[in-house]
């Protein structure tokens, strides 16, 4: 509202900034706790990275040398403190399984996962919101029942199964004209394409993994959206809009839907961990070179620095997503004020 004074704290710091700072400070011990817990859990698991090389041609001395080079010959608490010190200075260490600095490994993979996660979020909320609203408008009709059944089915299906079914569907040619890539993030000729061609290429590769990752969550969002919509369309202001003689389409889309979907923003924080967790499996199925696959391979290879840094990054992303959801909710609903 123009001219309205913004809420300020005792020293003139805007309330939103103070809120953000407080949340960031709260996140620090939480993230450190997460990292420490991961360190302990990883090291509690038996074996170490050299177990990957179960080969009598490789002499024990070479494996010992590798262990020493990885710092695994030191006591656990020394390893932890050393890792923590390096970590706090931004040194994520060296990936045993990738033979590269963890920072470089993550820098390659993180944008790919963010792209897939972002696209899936769009699918989750747009498709989920639209379907839920549609079901609410057609409550108890046959289409509502069919969609409810379909949503429950999708919600119950594991992501990898859905992914494999999509691959088989496309690869079998059962759907004429549906000739989408089923693995990787780019074509083998990607570097020969023009700028628009490259974007189209990545977009084409994004379609199936996005659907596989986002569809189950979309089914969940649809259930929420349906409930919210049903509540809203019974409100007085919707009745008033109808009484004014507005077309039903305008009543639903402009008056009811907008208000019904606002609470869904709060789901963003809930679905981010689900998406990142799902990415581990979906990235393996679709050969998507992202963080999920790194985590999967890193855990099997006992690549401690990589798994710890990747888990930490997932933690940061989830917390940041949750914070973003809170902020968006505040923006969307003026009644909410961060103090």
């Amino acid at each position: 509202m123009a001219g309205a004074p913004r809420p300020r704290g005792p020293r003139g710091v805007p309330a939103l900034i103070r809120y953000l700072l407080r949340r960031a400070l709260q996140a620090v011990p939480l993230l450190l706790g997460i990292a420490t817990l991961i360190f302990i859990v990883l090291h509690l698991a038996p074996g170490d990275p050299t177990a990957l090389w179960f080969d009598p041609s490789i002499p024990p001395e070479v494996l010992e040398r590798m262990r020493a080079s990885m710092g695994l010959d030191r006591p656990l608490h020394v390893q932890y403190l050393s890792w923590l010190r390096a970590f706090l200075t931004g040194d994520f260490g060296y990936s045993f399984s990738q033979y590269r600095p963890v920072r470089d490994v993550l820098a390659d993979a993180l944008p790919n996962t963010l792209l897939l996660g972002g696209a899936s979020l769009v699918v989750t909320f747009v498709a989920g919101g639209a379907l839920g609203a549609f079901q609410a408008v057609r409550q108890y009709r046959r289409s509502d029942a069919v969609l409810t059944l379909a949503m429950l089915f999708l919600y119950s299906m594991p992501g990898f199964w859905l992914g494999l079914m999509l691959v088989l569907l496309v690869a079998s040619g059962a759907v004429p004209g549906l000739d989408l890539p089923v693995s990787g993030m780019t074509s083998v000729d990607h570097d020969l394409l023009g700028p628009l061609g490259k974007v189209a290429d990545v977009a084409a590769h994004l379609v199936l993994p996005t659907i596989a990752l986002g569809l189950a969550s979309a089914a969940g969002v649809a259930r929420y959206a349906r409930g919210e919509m049903l509540e809203v369309i019974r409100q007085d202001y919707v009745r008033t809009a109808r009484a004014k003689g507005l077309p039903e389409r305008v009543v639903i889309l402009r008056h009811a839907l907008r208000n019904a979907l606002l609470p869904l923003i709060s789901l963003l924080g809930l679905y981010l961990p689900v998406l990142f967790g799902g990415a581990v499996v979906i990235e393996v199925v679709f050969s998507w070179p992202g963080m999920g696959r790194l985590m999967y391979d890193g855990i099997l290879a006992r690549d401690y620095p990589l798994v710890m840094a990747a888990s930490f990054l997932f933690g940061v992303l989830v917390l940041a997503g949750s914070l973003l959801a809170d902020l968006l909710y505040a923006v969307a609903d003026p009644r909410i004020r961060h103090v």
């Binding site: 698991a45 038996p46 074996g47 990275p49 177990a51 990957l52 090389w53 179960f54 080969d55 009598p56 041609s57 490789i58 002499p59 024990p60 070479v62 494996l63 040398r65 590798m66 080079s69 060296y94 990738q98 033979y99 590269r100 600095p101 470089d104 490994v105 390659d108 993979a109 494999l164 691959v167 088989l168 496309v170 690869a171 000739d179 890539p181 089923v182 693995s183 990787g184 993030m185 780019t186 074509s187 083998v188 000729d189 990607h190 570097d191 020969l192 394409l193 061609g197 290429d201 084409a204 393996v284 199925v285 679709f286 050969s287 070179p289 992202g290 696959r293 790194l294 099997l300 006992r302």
Partner: protein, 591 residues
């Protein structure tokens, strides 16, 4: 979109391109000379490996056969161009030849990006490569290599004797985690005589030159200033590799692909420029997705195909499936420190009771054969006269009863002195191991032995079996072996703490034999020793040998010239070519 084939420069074709698996005529005399010299010096070059070599690969299995090879012949000058896409379940870890890596990485180092001093012949005999000739002095303790002068690193520097000396110095440096120090344990000193001549002082050793077949040469001008302990972490292995082989490194997308392009400057005498313009290796972890990509023509060659997938793919007329001998076998290891597995008669009974032929049929189908001893068909000294123990449950029952194990309480499980005959069988979580374990469990139950199967992730299983207290009864595993065949860590009495001495079984006379195997250089004597070694192990049964493995490849039929064998799945990749219709559009994965 431009097809890669249309943008690459064309060079005049080599007038006499070599046939796969052999060298050009011009290289033959030095090869022959070197072989004779080595034979005179008691070394392994020149061995007639014809009857011991792994059989030439047949593309006939799985419905391929003559149809594929009976296609119209494509003239040589029309074979150039296109991008070949190869896919495997794992990423290539490193292109640094001195860093511990998996087999696919090693194969791409040796056969694609880098060059080795000598090439590996079909019977593991050395053939000229970077070294166009070599000779031993009269006493056999010095070997002099004459290098080709037309091989260049992909950055334009010539490959010289200093690079060879540098590679050797780093390989034997204790600060470098080189996986196979045994390759160079008989190489004592190097002397660079001139830019293209190097002399080594050596001690007698079986397969003396084998290390130079399996270790690519490193560029001293790039890595010379890198401290040995930092070599492992240098980006040379992962993002900035420079080789001197038939393909140049172009690009890597970690976790996704490696892209190589044809090296137009690769010497004609070594085969010249590869036929294909680009070679792309893609990691596709999910087998079903990889199959789908092959069927759609977006992948031309699939590595490490499972027998189940091979059977499915063989039904596709556009795909050819074939197996080839791999240096790998599967076995059950018995902890002979723990009774009743201490008794060789009991271990023999267990082997007799397990239907290894049935296991092979279920797990490998046509891609494996029952194995009798520790040296499989891939090895030049394989003893074909050593027959596996038969599947004979009745004999097993007799042996167990003679050892005092009878079912005294009628519960179906044998017992002795109040103790039931039961034990745990460990294995890693793999479908094929689960099948093997289930069959073995049922077989042993039939003869009154109770087996509990326990699944452990590899990182968890390895400490159990290699740790000092060997906390296991039996475990099921498979591994890849080496032509050099140094099995002392597995069976030597003087290495009881070796991680791989998990069975605890040894014989002093076997120690001497295994030591001799490292020194004896004549192929006939080698074969005799290998035969004795195999019989001693087969007699004692510290392992129940299950089967040796044939690796399986599946390829699109439009990819021609693929001839893998025990040396490498991608052997002779520079000789592969795509039929004209498969170049460009069909080779690309975006439409």
């Amino acid at each position: 979109m431009n097809a890669p084939s249309s943008t690459s420069p064309r060079r005049p074709l080599p007038s006499a391109r070599r046939r796969p698996g052999s060298l050009r005529r011009s290289a033959a005399p030095p090869a022959l000379l070197a072989a004779l010299l080595l034979a005179a010096a008691g070394c392994d070059a020149g061995r007639d490996a014809g009857d011991e070599a792994p059989p030439p690969t047949s593309w006939g299995r799985g419905g391929d056969g003559a149809a594929a090879e009976a296609r119209p012949r494509v003239p040589e000058e029309e074979r150039y161009g296109g991008t070949v896409v190869v896919a495997g379940p794992g990423d290539l870890l490193t292109m640094n030849p001195l860093i511990v890596a998996d087999r696919p990485s090693l194969e791409h180092q040796i056969h694609l990006l880098h060059i080795t001093l000598v090439a590996e012949g079909p019977g593991a005999e050395p053939l000229p490569r970077l070294a166009e000739s070599w000779s031993f002095d009269a006493r056999g303790d010095r070997v002099t290599f004459r290098l080709r002068d037309d091989v260049r690193w992909h950055d334009g520097h010539p490959v010289t004797a200093r690079d060879v000396a540098f590679t050797w110095e780093r390989a034997i440096d204790p600060a470098v985690p080189f996986a196979n120090p045994a390759y160079f344990d008989a190489w004592e000193a190097a002397e660079v005589l001139d830019e293209h001549t190097i002399r080594f002082t050596v001690r007698p050793r079986a397969h003396l030159l084998y290390g130079w077949m399996r270790t690519a040469i490193l560029p001293e001008h790039i890595l010379g200033d890198v401290p040995p302990e930092e070599l492992e972490r240098h980006p040379f292995g992962t993002t900035e590799p420079v080789g001197a082989g038939p393909f140049r490194f172009l690009r890597r997308v970690p976790g996704d692909r490696w892209v190589f392009e044809a090296n137009p400057d690769f010497p004609e005498a070594l085969g010249g420029r590869p036929y294909v313009d680009r070679y792309v290796y893609r990691q596709i972890p999910d087998g079903a997705v990889a199959e789908a990509e092959l069927k759609r023509g977006r992948v031309h060659l699939l590595l490490d195909v499972t027998p189940d997938a091979a059977a499915r793919l063989a039904a596709d007329t556009a795909v050819a499936v074939a197996g080839f001998a791999a240096p790998e076998y599967a076995f059950i290891a018995w902890n002979t420190r723990r009774p009743p597995l201490t008794d060789p008669a009991v271990r023999r009974a267990l082997t007799l009771a397990i239907d290894r032929e049935g296991i092979r049929e279920v797990v490998r189908g046509p891609y494996g054969r029952v194995l009798a001893g520790p040296v499989g068909r891939w090895h030049p000294a394989f003893d074909s006269t050593l027959a596996p123990l038969p599947f004979a449950p009745d004999s097993a029952r007799t042996l167990l009863a003679a050892a005092g194990w009878t079912d005294s309480d009628g519960d179906g499980i044998r017992d002795r002195d109040g103790r039931s005959f039961q034990f745990d069988l460990l294995h890693t979580p793999r479908d094929d191991w689960a099948q093997v374990a289930a069959i073995a469990q049922a077989n042993l139950r039939d003869v009154g032995v109770e087996v509990s199967t326990r699944v452990r992730e590899q990182a968890a299983l390895v400490p159990l079996v290699t740790g000092p207290d060997r906390r296991f009864d039996a475990f099921l595993v498979g591994w890849v072996r080496d032509v050099m065949l140094d099995d002392r860590d597995m069976f030597a009495c003087d290495r009881p703490t070796s991680p791989f001495q998990f069975t605890g079984w040894c014989r002093p006379e076997l120690d001497a034999l295994l030591d001799s195997l490292q020194l004896v250089v004549g192929p006939d004597v080698q074969a005799r020793l290998v035969a004795r070694y195999g019989r001693m192990v087969a007699e004692a049964q510290p392992y129940t040998f299950l089967y040796d493995v044939e690796s399986v490849l599946a390829r699109r039929r439009e990819l021609r010239g693929v001839r893998p064998d025990a040396r490498a799945a991608i052997l002779g990749a520079a000789e592969w070519w795509l039929e004209p219709r498969a170049r460009g559009d069909r080779a690309e994965s975006r439409r």
